[in-house]
Every structure is written in C-alpha cells, then in structure tokens.
Symmetry: C2
Subunit: 227 residues, 2 copies
C-alpha cells in the first residue's frame, strides 16, 4: 500500500546540506501497525511527513496504492491527504482561535459530513480521550497533554485509511499514554494502517513491526514484508 524506493530528502541551510533521509526503502501493507524509533534528528518526522504527503522527496519514488504520488501536483496531493490520511503532528498545530471541539470538527466539515452527525462524532472522540469537560477550551486554555490529545482526536475523527502519529504521547503521563496507544490500536484493529513515531520504548514495542532510524537511514526493520 505504501512503497518507498530509494528515497532521499536533502535540506539546504545556507551552504550546508542536511541529508535528512538517505536511501530509504520501505514497503508497508494495508492494515499494518508499525513503530519508528531513533535518536533525535535521525529523520523520523521527515519520513512521516513524506508518507503523509506533506513533503516531497529530493529523489526516489513513493507509490501509494500502486500510484506514483511524487508526480502529483500540490493540489492533487492535498486531496489524497485530506481523504485518506490522518496526521498527529509533533507540534500539534491546533487552530488557536477555535475551541477543542471546533478543532476536532474541522476535518468533518471539510469532508462535508452533515452537522448533526458531526456534533456526535466530535463528542465521542473527545470523551474517549478524557476531554469531555475541556471541549469549549481554546488551545491556550489547555495543558500540554490536553492539546496533544486534541491533536489525536482531530487526526482520528475521520477514521482515515492511514493514521500517522508523530510522538503522540510525549506530553502525557504513563496512564494517558497507554490509553492513547489503546485507542490507536483499536483503529488499527478496524483496518486502519497505523504508523507511530515515538521515543517511548513502552509504546514502540507494542507495534507488530518495529523500525529504527539513524542518521537518515532505516537502520533496522523487524518485519520487512519482503519488498
């Protein structure tokens, strides 16, 4: 479903070139559950952004469901992204002027879901994440871990085909982190392809397949499915 071949991603800063992804080859079947771990700066977010069509490779091919998505226009990539991919950002990226509930409702509005259904879906996902009594708070009126959970709610409310989570528990205590992992795994149990970037071994080891990155390369792959 997700096939990366000879993916390179370089960044330029002044005269310096940063090889953030260095010849990454990766094949992921629909419904898989992967974790990606590795040192700070090793390329995990860059890889996730690329898979999530938020960034393009410098060279190499990315096939999503057999289609080469590297040749799509920005607008076409955005369409694929909005329809099929949910993203929990490492820096959350919530809309400051909207409440938690309004932030979570955004993807439903963009997808044309009728208003009556939206309220009920937003309420359900916020309650599952322990945020029922915070739905009318704006991001600045929430704790760090509460903002993180709103970001998770927003990414999951559409039940996307692919769910990409970048450090979803970094601001959560142990128990809340386990609750979040369970929620993500329930979605995976329903068929959603799940990729979790994490620094927490307790979370990373729950995945069926575990990748490890170092200096932009895929250093280890516990379950390379032969392609």
């Amino acid at each position: 479903m997700i096939e990366l071949s000879h993916i390179h991603r370089n960044f330029r800063v002044g005269n310096q070139m940063v090889p953030a992804l260095d010849n990454v080859n990766l094949s992921i079947a629909a419904g898989e559950y992967l974790s990606i771990m590795g040192p700070s700066g090793s390329g995990k977010s860059t890889l996730l952004n690329l898979i999530g069509l938020l960034d393009r490779p410098t060279s190499g091919i990315y096939r999503l469901d057999g289609e080469d998505v590297t040749v799509l226009s920005d607008r076409q990539q955005a369409e694929v992204r909005n329809r099929r991919i949910g993203f929990v950002f490492q820096a959350f990226h919530l809309v400051p002027r909207l409440t938690a509930a309004e932030n979570v409702e955004l993807p439903l509005i963009l997808a044309g879901v009728p208003v009556a259904q939206r309220a009920e879906r937003v309420e359900r996902v916020l309650a599952a994440l322990g945020l029922a009594d915070r739905s009318h708070h704006k991001p600045e009126q929430l704790s760090g871990g509460q903002r993180q959970r709103v970001a998770i709610a927003r990414a999951t409310v559409m039940q996307p085909a692919v769910l990409l989570a970048d450090e979803p528990t970094g601001n959560l205590d142990h128990k809340s982190g386990q609750d979040v992992a369970q929620i993500l795994e329930q979605l995976n149990g329903g068929g959603i392809t799940l990729i979790v970037v994490t620094h927490d071994l307790a979370i990373g080891q729950r995945a069926r397949r575990r990748l490890h990155m170092l200096d932009g390369r895929l250093e280890r792959d516990s379950g390379a499915s032969g392609g």
Copy 2:
C-alpha cells in the same frame, strides 16, 4: 528561598471554573533539586508558571527570598524573572525568525553581556547539547527534539539562580534525555535551584526530592523540608 502558602489558582472558561491549583503549600531551599510529576492536567505547568512569575495566584502568598512577590507590579515581576529565573517551556516558545544561536543569545543581550563573551557562551552551551552544527538553523529547520534542546540552551546560558524546566525531555530519545538531565544536574551542582516537571519516571527519580500532583493539589512530597 521559594515559599508558597495557601496558593490557589482558578481559571474561568465561560461559566466553568477550573481549580488548577488547590491550596498548594511548598517550601524550597536555595540549591535544591526537585522533580514534579503527575497526570496530564494536574496543574504542574500552572505551578511552574507561578513560581517563575509568569502568572499570579488567585489567592495565597508567594515569597521569593523572603520578599512577597505577589504584590509586585507586572514590570517588577518581569525584572526579577529576567535576572534570576531560567525557564524551559513545555511548548519551547522560540523566536521563529531567529536562528538557534540567536535565540540562545537573546537573554545575554537583554542582560547587557558584551558581544565577544556572548558568542563564546552561546557556542559552548549549544555544543554541550549536541547542536553545534545546527546553530544557523531556524526553528522550522530543526527537529522537535532539537528545538527542545535550543529552549534548554536559552534557559541555561545565563546560569540563573532558579532553573524551571517543563517536560525538558518529552521530545528526546533516551540517550539525549539522559544527557540533558546531566547538564541540568551540573548546573544544580554549581548551586542553581532546579525544578523539573516531567512525565518520565527515569528523569523524575533522579531528583533529590520528588513531588507528585493530582487535581491541582500537592499529593506527595518526598522531602518536605519542614515548611
């Protein structure tokens, strides 16, 4: 050195009132090393912001070095803060248009440190945090953990009397997190009062004195120094 008596902090959101801090009493001597742990939303950041003079209590007294700082004006609080307190924010709060080095240099400029000394001090603290080759990157050109380390560098470069760190390792792999803890502990070894809010037990247990919060209250204090 830090004395909180009967501290309450309430937030209003619409008709709702959130008792973020509920009768907190705490006495911290100069040079102590404390960790504060507790569930997401339990009041840790609110407590740290209060100690760091970034927020005022709804009621109660806060004495810093024997002086009641709750009666100071905003401007006077800002002066005390800039002179004596270093803060690593849970959300980093780096200046987007400045490079990593320029962000770290800011407190030195504000304190009137001469330019020749500034360059050398910035370079030293960035190198200690593994960021020597990222000093000319802007925040958006850094990984999440690199931004976190720039925030730590900025908070520590002035060697403040009190160092407050809100989840300083949440975006770091295990090894980088240990490096950061060591750097903070070296500063404490030099006499700096150190308070670390963390969700990571491995980091929290390194502190000499450990506090635990729940629902806005100080639930446990492993080493209450009798005040």
